[in-house]
């Protein structure tokens, strides 16, 4: 990294900078913000940044040529926080395929082979062989994923590339490339901001934010109650603790994987601590069986749920759906997304047993309905006004409501995206997120010989659908690495380098 060009004055954004979409070197220098040159910069520092750096390191880019700007210390920090809140501690299994390994670009050996070896449990191989026909999909423990990530992060010198800070914006540079404005942690730099000047920038800042169901948001705002109406992605251990002290009722909203997880926790606790918990589960769309327009597009379902092994049909990561979507534009693409979309959860034998027992035992009540509003009853508990499609209105009373819908906020709520949409030339795709090329360049943002890439949830709706998944991030990273190879930043990796690099991975030696 070249030494910074340190100017004399204040070191903060000026009105002139804020109002100008394309900055010149002189304009930045005049603002007095220290500037560092780095050819490739990734913004985010979560899973998306990590797998992209992993690919590029393995392709042959030295660590000195790349930086990652992040406000978290490890790439899995946010992921682990969200999985832990949604009831997946390190010992539990996540919903991800055995061969989707963010720490291993080849996906071989898969997690199942690794855990078979470490746990000395050949039964995993049998499950892998017979999934999903005779068994549930084999999925890795969250802990296995985090441990392997740590090993790989060390191997590729991840922490040598990490720069702590909050990215404020990315602006185009007159003459090519980009300026990335970073607010470093207080006291760590002489100025309020620092700037990276780069030819290539990659944005992987994840979900722009959580969005609550409108009726729940209204209740929370009106009553200032953030304890009894919670989102499953927030820490909400108080719910389970309360239920251990006295019998209570919980309303669950949503029909996805998180609802399944929260249900499992409630059922497990009920069994383990002999609790009397009652569960009312409200599905807006109540799936009663196989559903879909024709025999070639029919997904299984029942008891409220739509069943699917992973969060997209498997062929989006390399099969037919991936190939089809790559060719579609505009309304056709949006329609295809709609056809394969919809909230779903895997069919897991354990969960099915628990729900069956709950229904027959009279403590699990799945219902279809939309909630008009939530109010506080005279005893202080929560009353939901639920209207079913058959006209019946129910008013379940609960101690807690857990929102498991996992709605995502609009991308413009994140200021980096907002700035890109306003100043960077970026625009929205048919489903409202960032429109990217097949190689994940953000359309409309090219700057001279520089390129701006994005991967992750913000790019859902593009030519590749499975963006916010481990394997999807790797597919994006590979497209980006190959595009960078076309532009001469690194050599494209062929079978020989790939094989020798795989051996380095296997022996945990540096790239």
């Amino acid at each position: 990294m070249a030494p910074p060009h340190v100017p004399a004055s204040a070191g903060d954004l000026t009105p002139e900078l804020l109002g100008t979409s394309e900055w010149s070197d002189q304009l930045v220098a005049a603002a007095g913000i220290p500037m560092y040159d780095i050819p490739f910069l990734t913004v985010g520092g979560g899973m998306g940044s990590f797998v992209t750096l992993d690919y590029l390191r393995i392709y042959g880019v030295p660590a000195s040529q790349m930086r990652v700007v992040s406000n978290i210390d490890t790439p899995w920090q946010t992921y682990e926080f969200l999985t832990r809140c949604s009831q997946i501690p390190r010992s539990e299994r996540i919903r991800s395929d055995s061969a989707s390994r963010p720490d291993n670009i080849w996906g071989f050996p898969s997690y199942a082979l690794q855990e078979t070896w470490t746990d000395k449990t050949p039964a995993y191989l049998w499950q892998l062989l017979t999934e999903p026909l005779l068994n549930d999909y084999w999925t890795p423990r969250a802990g296995t994923v985090f441990q392997s990530l740590e090993r790989e992060a060390k191997r590729i010198d991840y922490w040598d590339m990490l720069v702590k800070g909050q990215v404020r914006m990315v602006r185009r540079r007159a003459g090519g490339g980009y300026f990335t404005v970073v607010t470093p942690p207080e006291g760590s730099a002489p100025t309020k901001r620092i700037i990276f000047r780069s030819r290539f920038v990659h944005i992987a800042i994840g979900y722009p934010g959580l969005k609550f169901l409108p009726d729940l948001q209204e209740f929370r705002t009106k009553h200032g109650d953030y304890q009894h109406v919670v989102n499953a992605y927030e820490p909400h251990e108080q719910v389970y603790e309360f239920l251990k002290t006295r019998p209570g009722t919980v309303v669950i909203r949503g029909g996805g994987i998180v609802a399944s997880r929260v249900l499992q926790r409630l059922f497990d606790d009920r069994e383990k601590f002999r609790l009397q918990t009652q569960i009312v589960h409200i599905f807006r769309t109540f799936v009663t069986g196989s559903h879909g327009p024709h025999v070639w597009a029919r997904r299984k379902g029942g008891d409220g749920w739509a069943y699917q092994g992973f969060n997209y049909p498997k062929s989006v990561w390399g099969g037919q759906l991936k190939a089809q979507m790559r060719r579609l534009e505009g309304a056709e693409r949006a329609a295809k997304y709609k056809e394969m979309g919809g909230t779903n959860t895997p069919y897991r034998r354990r969960w099915q047993e628990q729900m069956r027992a709950g229904r027959s035992g009279g403590y699990y009540h799945p219902v279809q309905g939309t909630v008009d509003r939530v109010e506080r009853g005279s005893d202080g508990r929560l009353v939901s006004y639920v209207r079913s499609s058959d006209g019946i209105v129910r008013e379940p009373v609960a101690d807690y409501i857990i929102d498991c819908t996992g709605l995502e906020a609009d991308i413009a709520e994140h200021r980096i995206y907002d700035d890109l949409l306003r100043h960077g030339g970026a625009y929205r795709n048919p489903v409202g997120r960032l429109e990217v090329e097949r190689h994940f360049e953000v359309k409309g943002t090219a700057s001279g010989d520089g390129v701006l890439y994005a991967s992750g949830s913000a790019t859902l709706g593009g030519y590749f659908p499975g963006v916010d998944t481990f394997l999807g991030l790797q597919i994006a990273a590979q497209e980006i690495a190959d595009d960078l190879a076309r532009r001469g930043f690194v050599r494209r990796m062929g079978p020989f380098r790939s094989t020798s690099q795989w051996f380095k991975w296997a022996f945990n030696s540096p790239v």
Partner: protein
Amino acid sequence: MVPTLAGRIQTRLFLLATVGAIITLLIVPVLPGSSGALGDRYVTGFLVLAAVAVLGVAWELVYHFLMQFRWEKDWPTLFGLLTLVPEGLLLYFLLRSGAVDVIDPVPSAAFWTHFTVVWVGVWLVANGPMRVPFIRWRFRGGRVL
């Protein structure tokens, strides 16, 4: 790997021509029940391999059609293994009936040993090691080209 039609066919041809050919080279001298000059046995062995490839293209069309009934358009690992039964039986009866007369009669034990070992070898490679040299293969539905 979740295949597309082109990917299925390419993967089959590629793996038979590489893994299949290597296994055939190694296994033909020790196949049970076979007799005659080693050179002739090799010719027969490779013709059987070629027949698996040629018939396989038709089989892949059938599998691709059947896959359309699956919501995920996937092809579970176990299917890839178990399809050796119908494919093996068809080829075996074709050879037995003399329908493929360019191939000399093959003793049952030799045929099934050769066929099964090649099949399992190809299946194992397709389910993991293939991804080591070819990092783009699994994301392209199994296309090699």
